[in-house]
Amino acid sequence: MRLHKTIAMAALALGIAGAAQAQTTLRIGLAEDPDVLDPTLARTYVGRIVFSSICDKLFDIDANLKPVPQLALSHETSADGKTVTIKLRPNVVFHDGEKFDAEAAKFSLDRHLTMTGSFRKPELGSVASVEVVDPLTIKLSLKAPFSPLLAQLTDRAGMMVSPKAAKAAGDKFGNHPVCAGPYKFVEGVQQDRIVVEKFDKYWNKDNVHIDKIVYLPITDSTVRLANLRSGALDLIERPLATDIKTIRSIPKVKLTTAVTIGYLGISINLANGPAASTPLAKDPRVRKAFELALDRDAINQVAFNGEFVPGNQWVNPQNFYYQQSVPIPKRDVAKAKALLKEAGVSGPMTIDFMVPNNPELRQVAELIQSMVAEAGFDMKIRLTEFATSLKEAEDGKFQAFLIGWSGRTDPDGNIYSFAACKQPQNNSAYCDAKTDADLNRAREVTDPAERKKIYEAVAQRMIGNNEGHVIYLYHARVLIAHVERLEGFTQMPDGLVRVVGLKLK
């Protein structure tokens, strides 16, 4: 009897020891294959999901999109707004054991600013120089005050890379990134998997509980969901909005959502080439009529089971910068018809409507088509492969274009490049001196209330008076489905999967 007890105790002890040593692996299903994993050269949204486990940034965002320190400890902007001093977190090391200090921070920022093909250069365009003040302090001198700077540093522009590894690898750094995040890169096989493992010298290692993360790109959303159901994955990003009901009915699976910081809208070509010679482009009253013929709620109900958030501005209605004084207009076909009459439009107005070829957008386009037809618009939907649609838009070969924007945490990132004169995303060629002045002014002012006031004038002009070129429709929801045994997951509005604090039961 005693012997049995001893054996049982020993077995139990071994079992506990075994359990303590068992490796925990989190398997994440990605909707696309990430591009190069170099923070300076990367561009894809899905790449940012992987970066959030391997590369820490100077700042991160909180649930309200406010910058909070990550590798930085604090920051201070000078009274004239032209210098930003950043104190850095001590005792931080990169995955290769190199120390993270002011020299390393300067190196990373300089690399973003000067490397050939750097996509961070425009984001940090306001930075004139980076200076080392002391081993744990850097000073950024700006060409002009630029209030969205901190928001830029919460994304890839704020990611710090090991100078030693980056110098050695050059533009091949992305094949084996070495940063200072909670996980270190192990291997990446294109279109197959990316494996990262817990970094035991991470500055916040006590809050990292999972040993290994495997990212698996599975582009077909049905298959991604099937993998979650079969237990082959623990978390999937971006399931289809039409699958929400199904996901909620799966036992032991949780769905978390957050309204995205991006939007979907219709860009109307105002002055880019001969295609812009329509009454829709020339007369704000016609654009107003078009908008009045739309029922944003109905689009949301029919296409997305009412899960998304209808909107009419470049930020979503929950955002601090949303202007309550410019509300979503109710559908009013009679008024729309009257406006068209007033503008001298008779008979159906034919509009070339370019729509990227995907099932979701196609459905939205068809809904718009049938809604505005009642007011007298004849939308000719032209389904176009995505890469082609970008080029056509740039060349001005469209009258209306259904296109989304993934969104940036600072409102500037959702409007400046689209609405300031001659900006790269301004394919509609909207150009207004007052709007330009306002948008530039909003970049200089740091007080949020004051900035909101400036943006209000822009919203009144562009949206309230329909002088602008974008008719915003809705804000999608970031959808993440995960197994119940994954604990500690909170959904941030940027949709990224933050891995610190996650536990697998």
């Binding site: 294959d33 591009d35 190069v36 170099d38 050269l41 561009r43 894809t44 050939t116 093909g117 750097s118 996509f119 250069k121 425009p122 984001e123 533009d171 091949k172 992305g174 094949n175 096989v189 294109q190 279109q191 197959d192 998997r193 698996l216 790109p217 599975i218 582009t219 077909d220 049905t222 298959v223 099937a226 993998n227 159901r229 079969s230 237990g231 082959a232 492969e385 995505f386 890469a387 082609t388 970008l390 080029k391 056509e392 740039e394 924007w405 993934s406 490049s417 790269p424 995303q425």
Partner: protein, 313 residues
């Protein structure tokens, strides 16, 4: 024989040159700007100009072709714009995957297709024949993506026997490797099996009524020996040709099937590259596939000559 071989090898040079021009030319016809799609949402004109310069997209097409073909001749297929990896590395990474999937699919196709074809010919107009024909009709008319999703729901979601997607290499864990590839291989093999079954049945029916088979039967040979040793051998020649052609197609990647089962083979690589306008990858993969095709063709010609000395000329 040597002069035949030399002649055929010489013919390869203009063929490959022609193929390279076609690949490069067709690629340029694709609408869209690779720099623009590469930049995605980060569309700064200065950065776009840098990309165009870096990848010589700002040069005239003949010059772009010259630099590409110069690299190819030196064994350099260029670099992926999207992920900054050499194309040759990507090709070598995907080749074993595609080879494994194609071999498994063709084995499944031959086993099922030839087996069912022979049985249905021998048991003509019996229920076995009808069953085999229904199977063939089903195999030909079932879309791969639909069958794939059905299999995933049955074997992964409901029964939990097989992983729904992903790939493990043979070297890493052969059991897992077979588990991850058996469903896609079956999907691919099933469609080919149906075609092979119809051809085998036709060829067998023809051979089974020929004089020499009647003679064999008259000699009192057992039916099994007549079918397997005498009839099947002759009937198989066209089947092998067809099987080789199907194998060639499989080697160029199975786009839809790879997409559904997330198998990182040639098909997925090339589709992603086309959508991202990653020119170097598209050109590299198509060139490698075309060269493989041409080489297989050459090997088949050599095999015919070896088998039939009258062709040596």
């Amino acid at each position: 024989m040597l002069s035949f071989l030399g002649h055929r090898l010489l013919q390869l040079i203009p063929t490959l040159f022609f193929v390279s021009v076609i690949i490069f030319g067709l690629q340029q016809l694709l609408p869209g700007d690779p720099a623009l799609i590469m930049a995605g949402e980060e569309r700064d004109p200065e950065v776009l100009a840098q990309i165009r310069k870096q990848y010589r997209l700002d040069q005239p097409i003949p010059i772009q072709y010259f630099y590409w073909i110069k690299g190819v001749m030196a064994g350099d297929l260029g670099e992926s714009m999207r992920i900054k990896k050499p194309v040759s590395e990507l090709v070598l990474e995907k080749l074993p995957v595609t080879l494994q999937l194609a071999s498994m699919a063709i084995i499944i196709a031959l086993t099922i297709g030839v087996g069912a074809g022979v049985i249905s010919a021998v048991k003509k107009d019996t229920w076995l024949d009808y069953a085999a024909n229904i199977f063939a009709l089903w195999g030909i008319s079932t879309p791969n993506f639909w069958l794939g999703i059905l299999l995933i729901f049955l074997f992964s979601v409901q029964l939990g026997w097989l992983p729904a997607s992903g790939y493990v290499s043979l070297g890493e864990d052969w059991r897992q490797s077979l588990a991850t590839t058996i469903m896609p291989a079956f999907v691919l093999g099933n469609a080919i099996a149906a075609v092979l079954m119809r051809h085998t049945r036709g060829a067998m029916l023809q051979v089974l009524t020929s004089d020499y088979v009647r003679t064999a039967r008259a000699k009192g040979l057992v039916e099994r020996v007549v079918v397997i040793k005498h009839a099947m051998r002759n009937a198989l020649t066209p089947i092998i040709t067809l099987g080789a052609l199907e194998l060639g197609t499989l080697l160029s990647g199975a786009v839809l099937t790879e997409q559904i089962f997330t198998i990182p083979g040639f098909g997925k690589l090339i589709v992603d590259a086309v959508f991202n306008r990653d020119y170097a990858v598209v050109q590299g993969v198509v060139l490698v596939t075309a060269t493989t095709y041409i080489t297989l063709n050459l090997l088949a010609d050599i095999a015919y000559v070896l088998a039939n000395p009258r062709l040596r000329g």
